[in-house]
Amino acid sequence: MLSSAELLNFANSHGIPLWAMDAFIAALIALGLFAAMGLGFMVQVYMERKVSAGLQLRYGPIYVGPKGSLQLVADALKFITKEDVFPSSAEPWIFRLAPVVMFAAAFLGLLVLPFGPGLVAKDLNVGLIYVLAIPSIGVAGVIMAGFGSKNRYAILGSLRAAAQMISYEVPRSLSLIGIIMIAGTMRLSSIVDGQGIWYIFLQPLGFLVFFVATMAELNRTPFDLAESESEYVNGYHTEYSGMRFGFFFFAEYMSLFAAALLTAVLFLGGWHGPGPVILAPVWLLIKVFGVIYVLMWVRWTFPRFRIDQVMDLGWKVLLPMALVNILVTGIIMSV
């Protein structure tokens, strides 16, 4: 990565305005992240299928490529070439915009996430709130999908998904207050730098609340009420097919990756690990995929909650727990 001073010199000597330089670099980073997320998407889907198969004593994909690893390429091709059914009763523009909003919300969340020391698009000093706030725009995308589809399952699914996502946003954000208190900053890279001891050991209760709330935010089993197959067919994206559905799917796995990365950065010491500094992103990726594995393990082990249980867990268990965490952290730090 070039330092900002070098870039400034380069821009000055060639008469390029700084904003154009900024926009150019941002576009390059965005393209790189898109490609990386596309690859990560395929790896995660392959992993999910293999993990679920392993937990259920099946083989998973085996035919396409060695150990079925090219199955994902085949799936991607299928998504692109499949007919994209556009229901005649749907609201055209809202139906079209919903996957774009979902995708953009998840993609913009990556802006502040660090992939290693200095490997971050924009290290905002409000980074921690940013990663909580921007993906929450996705809730509007969910409601748009349900409303635009004009389908009973889609509307019910979108309402449930939105209610669940906003309910767990509260304990999820509150559980991170303890970390901010200890770190004294909301800049994600500074939070990693401050982790001599991983925050999972200093904030066990905060971690528990954050992890459970993250599962709910991601709409993954045991919190998959948004697309509970046995109740709502497929939830808010019932009417979507082809590549439009593909982008919902993509956004989902991008959010999964981002959530795992955030967990690793906030609680698992980020890129800290033995060895030279060049290994830092490798350590981070190992931790991220460790978290993703645990999330998959949970998903394929537990049955689904009922909606009233989900709401009770969020408001009556996790929210008080998050507040108790703040109290305990404050008392320990004051004494």
């Binding site: 941002a26 309910s167 509260v170 303890g178 067919v233 009233d308 408001w315 009556k316």
Partner: protein
């Protein structure tokens, strides 16, 4: 902060642009054979009757209101947490009072059954 805005807008434009590009590519590659039944609303094979946009449970709205209230509470918690170390006990007590008053509200809602999903 100008640089941050440029980054944000560029990210948004690249993201939306790539989605549009891939959707356009998919439109070129796919075979489209629409027919009336395929385009009708999916309702597990049953003919759709009536407008699906009827009145749903009001309960969702209450949880939405609760979210906004706690979001506003968190606005004050975040900057407080950042400077917590340098403020000392008095600020901690102030925040405890603040949280206690909000908790009173949550407890009220709980007792009155507003948090119950019926």
């Amino acid at each position: 902060m100008v640089s941050e805005i440029i980054y944000f807008v560029t990210f948004a434009l690249v993201g939306i642009g790539l989605v549009t590009l891939v959707l356009g590519l998919s439109k070129l590659l796919q075979t489209r054979k629409p027919n009336e039944i395929k385009l009708s609303t999916y309702e597990s094979g049953i003919a759709v009757t009536g407008d699906p946009r009827i009145q749903y449970k009001m309960r969702y709205y209450v949880f939405g209101l609760l979210l906004v209230l706690f979001d506003v509470e968190m606005i004050f918690l975040f900057p407080w947490a950042v400077v917590f170390k340098s403020l000392g006990l008095f600020a901690f007590v102030e925040m405890l009072v603040f949280i206690a008053i909000i908790l009173l509200g949550l407890f009220y809602a709980w007792r009155k059954g507003a948090l119950k999903w019926v």
